[in-house]
C-alpha cells in the first residue's frame, strides 16, 4: 500500500509504565518497560512536533502513570504551543493542587481520573493501593480549578453492581463525562480474566441502569458505555479500525496502532528512534498488514459491516483464536463465538480467583493466552 493514508486523529502517549497502583485489570503488557528505557524529553518534544505537522488533533498523556514524569509540564506546554488538544489520563494519586494549576496554566484542557470502585475499601483492594480518598480529592481539585473532568470507571464482576453509585459519584463530582468501560482482556486483565468477567445477568442489569441514566442525565453527564466483548453480538470498532485513527507510542518509543498491539507476536513495530511518525504511519509493515479491508478473510470479507467495525479487534482475535488475521470471536459470525460466550458464562459463575497484581518484573509465567486457558487440563 503506497497511497498516502489519511493521518490519525490522536496520539496516545504512554509516557511511562511506572505506576504506584497495581490494578490486576491493567491493560498494560505483562512485560512492563523499566524507567531506564523511557524516551527522554527531547524525543517526546519532537514527537509532538511531528504529530502536529501530520495534522493530528489531540494528544492523550497516559501510561502507566503519566504524572510520574517530571517533564509532564513541559510536554503539555509544548503540545499546546503546537496546537494539540491535551488530555491527561491519570489515577490522580500523585497530583496536588499546585501541579494541577501549573498544568492548567500551561494549557491542559481536560483530565480523566480513574476509580476502582465507589467504596474506598474495595477500591483500594482492587488497586492494591490505598488511594481512593486521594482520587476523590484530586477529582474535586480538577473541578475547583475549572478543568473539565471525566470519571473513568473500569467495571467487572467485583464492582459492576455499583454502577448506579458510580453515576451518582460522577454527578456529585460535577464531572462532564463518565466512561463506564468493561474490562478489556489484554495484558494483566487477560491473566486475571476469571476474576473479572461479570455474569450475563449483571451485564443486563447494568445496561438497563445505563440506558435509563442516559435519558435522565441527558445534557448533564455524558455517559460512554462499553459492553464486554465476550457477551456481544458484534465486535467493538476497536480504535476506529487498525491503524486508521490512532497512533500509540509506548514508553520506550515503539509506534503501535493500539496500546495492546505488542501482544501479537511476529509483528515488528518501528521505533521513533529509527523513523519519523509520518514514515511509520505510511510504511509500517505491521500497520499495513491489517489496515483497511484487503486483509480480511471470510466472514468479514463479504460482510456489510466490514467498514463499520473493521472485523473487530486484532489483539482479541489473537488472544482468543490464536490468529490476529481472523474474525474477532466477539462476532456472532465467528465459529468461536458460542464458545467465547460459554467461556465467559463459565468463568463468571465460578468463584473469583485471587488477583495477580500488576508489578514490574514479576511476570514469571508469560501467558500463551490461548483459548480456554483457564480450563483445567484433560
Amino acid at each position: 500500500m503506497n497511497a498516502r493514508v489519511e493521518p490519525p486523529l490522536a496520539l496516545l502517549a504512554e509516557l511511562s509504565h511506572r505506576c504506584p497502583l497495581q490494578c490486576p485489570y491493567c491493560s498494560n503488557p505483562l512485560e512492563l518497560e523499566r524507567s531506564g528505557k523511557e524516551l527522554d524529553t527531547k524525543t517526546w518534544l519532537r514527537i509532538l512536533d511531528e504529530a502536529a505537522a501530520m495534522g493530528m488533533h489531540q494528544v492523550h498523556f497516559s501510561g502507566g502513570e503519566p504524572t510520574v514524569r517530571k517533564d509532564l509540564e513541559q510536554l503539555v506546554e509544548h503540545a499546546t504551543k503546537v496546537g494539540l488538544y491535551t488530555n491527561l489520563i491519570t489515577s490522580g494519586v500523585l497530583l496536588d493542587e499546585k501541579r494541577l494549576r501549573a498544568l492548567a496554566d500551561l494549557g491542559l484542557e481536560h483530565v480523566q481520573v480513574s476509580f476502582q470502585d465507589t467504596e474506598a475499601a474495595n477500591a483500594d483492594r482492587i488497586a492494591g493501593f490505598k488511594g481512593h480518598l486521594k482520587k476523590l480529592e484530586v477529582a474535586r481539585l480538577v473541578r475547583k480549578i475549572g478543568l473539565p473532568l471525566t470519571v473513568n470507571a473500569v467495571v467487572h464482576r467485583q464492582n459492576i453492581d455499583h454502577v448506579p453509585d458510580f453515576l451518582e459519584m460522577a454527578v456529585e463530582l460535577d464531572a462532564e463525562r463518565i466512561e463506564i468501560a468493561q474490562v478489556q482482556y489484554y495484558g494483566w486483565a487477560l491473566k486475571n480474566r476469571a476474576a473479572f468477567i461479570p455474569t450475563y445477568e449483571q451485564l443486563q442489569r447494568t445496561t438497563k441502569v445505563v440506558e435509563a441514566a442516559r435519558v435522565r442525565l441527558k445534557g448533564v453527564l455524558v455517559i460512554d458505555y462499553v459492553v464486554p466483548d465476550y457477551y456481544a453480538k458484534r465486535p467493538k470498532t476497536c480504535m476506529g479500525g487498525w491503524a486508521r485513527r490512532f497512533l500509540n507510542i509506548s514508553p520506550a518509543g515503539k509506534v503501535l496502532p493500539c496500546h495492546a498491539a505488542e501482544s501479537i507476536p511476529n509483528l515488528a513495530f518501528d521505533s521513533v528512534h529509527e523513523h519519523s511518525l509520518q514514515w511509520i504511519w505510511d510504511n509500517s509493515v505491521a500497520f499495513n498488514k491489517y489496515r483497511g479491508t484487503d486483509w480480511m478473510p471470510e466472514p468479514c470479507k463479504s460482510c456489510d459491516r466490514k467498514e463499520i467495525d473493521w472485523g473487530g479487534c486484532r489483539c482479541q482475535a489473537y488472544a482468543l483464536a490464536g490468529d490476529a488475521g481472523t474474525v474477532d470471536p466477539a462476532c456472532e459470525l465467528s465459529p468461536l463465538h458460542e464458545a467465547t460466550f460459554g467461556l465467559a458464562m463459565k468463568e463468571a459463575s465460578a468463584a473469583a480467583p485471587e488477583f495477580i497484581y500488576r508489578r514490574i518484573g514479576t511476570d514469571e509465567t508469560p501467558d500463551a493466552a490461548v483459548f480456554g486457558h483457564h480450563e483445567p487440563a484433560g
Partner: protein, 111 residues
C-alpha cells in the same frame, strides 16, 4: 453541569475543554473534546464561527440572515434550524448556555 435548553435568548458558548479550531494541515474546522471530535459541515461551521459566548442565539440568527443575500428563507425557519443544531451539540456537551451558566468560560471561537 446543568442541561441547557436553547432558545433565542440563550447565549451559546463552548465550555472549557471544548475547542472549535482550524486544523492547518487538514484545512478543516473541528470541534475537539476529550475522546471526541466532530468535523462540522460547512453550514455548521458558519454558525459556530458566530458562537463567541457573547452573542445571543437570536443575534446569531440575525447575523446569518444578513449573510444570506440570495433567496433568504424566512427567519423562523433559520431560527428553528439553528436552535435544533445547537441543542444537539449542547446535548452532546459540546456547547453550554452562558446566559445560564456564567462560570462556563467561553473559548474564543476559531483560534
Amino acid at each position: 453541569m446543568e442541561r441547557a435548553a436553547f432558545s433565542e435568548a440563550s447565549v451559546p458558548a463552548f465550555p472549557r475543554g471544548v475547542k472549535f479550531r482550524f486544523n492547518n494541515t487538514k484545512q478543516q474546522w473541528v470541534i475537539l473534546a476529550p475522546e471526541r471530535l466532530l468535523e462540522p459541515d460547512e453550514m455548521a461551521v458558519t454558525v459556530l464561527k458566530l458562537v463567541d459566548g457573547q452573542r445571543t442565539l437570536g443575534a446569531v440568527v440575525d447575523t446569518l440572515m444578513e449573510m444570506i443575500t440570495i433567496d433568504p428563507p424566512p427567519r423562523d425557519v433559520v431560527a428553528t434550524d439553528v436552535v435544533a443544531m445547537l441543542q444537539d451539540l449542547a446535548d452532546k456537551a459540546f456547547l453550554v448556555d452562558a446566559a445560564r451558566a456564567p462560570q462556563a468560560k467561553a473559548a474564543a471561537g476559531g483560534k
